[in-house]
Subunit: 258 residues, 2 copies
């Protein structure tokens, strides 16, 4: 059965897109069939995988009830990895959806034909940096949340807000099974006390929800998107490629848990 995981954190710039793109690429290299669903109007995951932004190619029309999500699926240069691209028309989605019926379940119902077709083992949804309607839609559709967390102070503050929203969505019945699938610490800089302190604090707070693998801060990761390549195809032998390969193995093990 196809699993749906939303990569989300309302704090900006914590590595959501970088994690979605690289976990997707590493899982595809491990033999999984993966769909990356870019739900952020910035469309960074789209360009991070080497695709152009094309007007009308996003899920926007489908979320408003026009057409089928399967038609929006595009191939990438990488085996077993496909993408639903984004582009700027998604900008209008929050306001438009707010006025639509059943406005929190538009992503869930749009994904149904994809899940029923059983083409993919995993759908990863890259979310924008907010708790707006697009992100709420991803939460309503997801089996779990993958939360990238930067090893910095402001990012730490965001955990309480995220937890509050999760509880609300669970208790209100929007998605009773919604929970944190895993937290991954990103941009870890071993030379700074701050990184060590934040990782210690997060492991204390969230225990074994936090993946063992920590993603180091690395310029190679920031360079790769300008070539439209995931790190394992841009610099295969780098420390950051190794880190994402390890993380992908942890994600796979956790998905397959009973």
């Amino acid at each position: 059965p196809t699993k749906i995981i939303a990569v989300a954190n309302q704090k900006g710039g914590v590595g959501k897109t970088t994690t979605a793109v690289n976990v997707a690429a590493c899982l595809a290299a491990l033999g999984q069939r993966v769909l990356l669903f870019d739900l952020d109007p910035q469309a960074n995951a789209t360009s991070g995988l080497g695709l152009e932004k094309v007007e009308g190619a996003s899920a926007y029309r489908v979320l408003l009830g026009d057409g089928n999500l399967i038609e929006k699926i595009k191939p990438t240069a990488y085996d077993r990895l496909e993408v639903i691209p984004s582009e700027v028309d998604l900008c209008g989605a929050d306001v438009e959806l707010a006025r639509a019926e059943n406005y929190l379940h538009r992503v869930a119902s749009a994904l149904q034909p994809v899940v029923q077709a059983d083409r993919f083992d995993l759908v990863l949804v890259d979310c924008p940096p907010s708790l707006g309607i697009l992100t709420m839609n991803a939460f309503a559709a997801a089996d779990g949340l993958l939360v990238p967390l930067q090893c910095e102070y402001y990012a730490l503050e965001g955990i309480t807000m995220m937890n509050r929203v999760l509880t609300q969505l669970r208790d209100s019945g929007v998605n009773p099974r919604l929970d944190i699938f895993g937290v991954v610490m990103t941009m870890f800089d071993a030379r700074t006390k701050l990184s060590q302190e934040v990782v210690g604090e997060v492991r204390g707070l969230l225990g074994d929800r936090v993946f063992e693998t920590v993603i180091p801060r690395s310029t190679r990761l920031a360079e790769a998107p300008s070539f439209g390549k995931p790190i394992i195809h841009y610099d295969k032998y780098s420390a950051s490629a190794a880190a994402y390969e390890l993380l992908a193995q942890e994600v796979l093990a956790r998905i397959n848990l009973p």
Copy 2:
């Protein structure tokens, strides 16, 4: 007369809050009377200035028509620097405001009594990482936009989106005078080619809208918020404190231009 500048960029984690807090603190140290208006539900600017997040202390009720913004103004530990704090109730603002009358001009009308009181030389509005209704409200109220831009590839992609929105708001009459007041390059890492390339490209695209001062990547800047202090009060003699002091002088010179 009081000038209103929105610190904005829909790309997340580019240094909006860090720039708003530190430019505000440096301008106050130069003798300006500054109000920092935290319009981000994450409330990072609030804690970055050492204030607690208090339920009901944000502008939320006032934006929905209940009460006066002047009552929400709080002092900080720093002379001539005051703040309108944020807290999590602002999370609901986007959806609530979407249904309100005149929903794009709520911040502008809430700020009117503050501007008429002439208590401040400058109001800096820290925006969330999105082009949602709260950010649009800040754009409608602003005399200009201060756009922090991270020296990285994904951040570069965001410029076209920002420009598109500005043109829309100007042409539709929401704010005919809206323009980019200035762009500041942030998290510059002199050791990487990527930083140099991005700065070169942005100066080519935006010319003298880009401030001369470039903010270096520095751990001291990431540490300061955990002590609730702007950099000039946390580590006065650091390179990043010097950079923000220079930037504040450039901002002041540009504000006073005829």
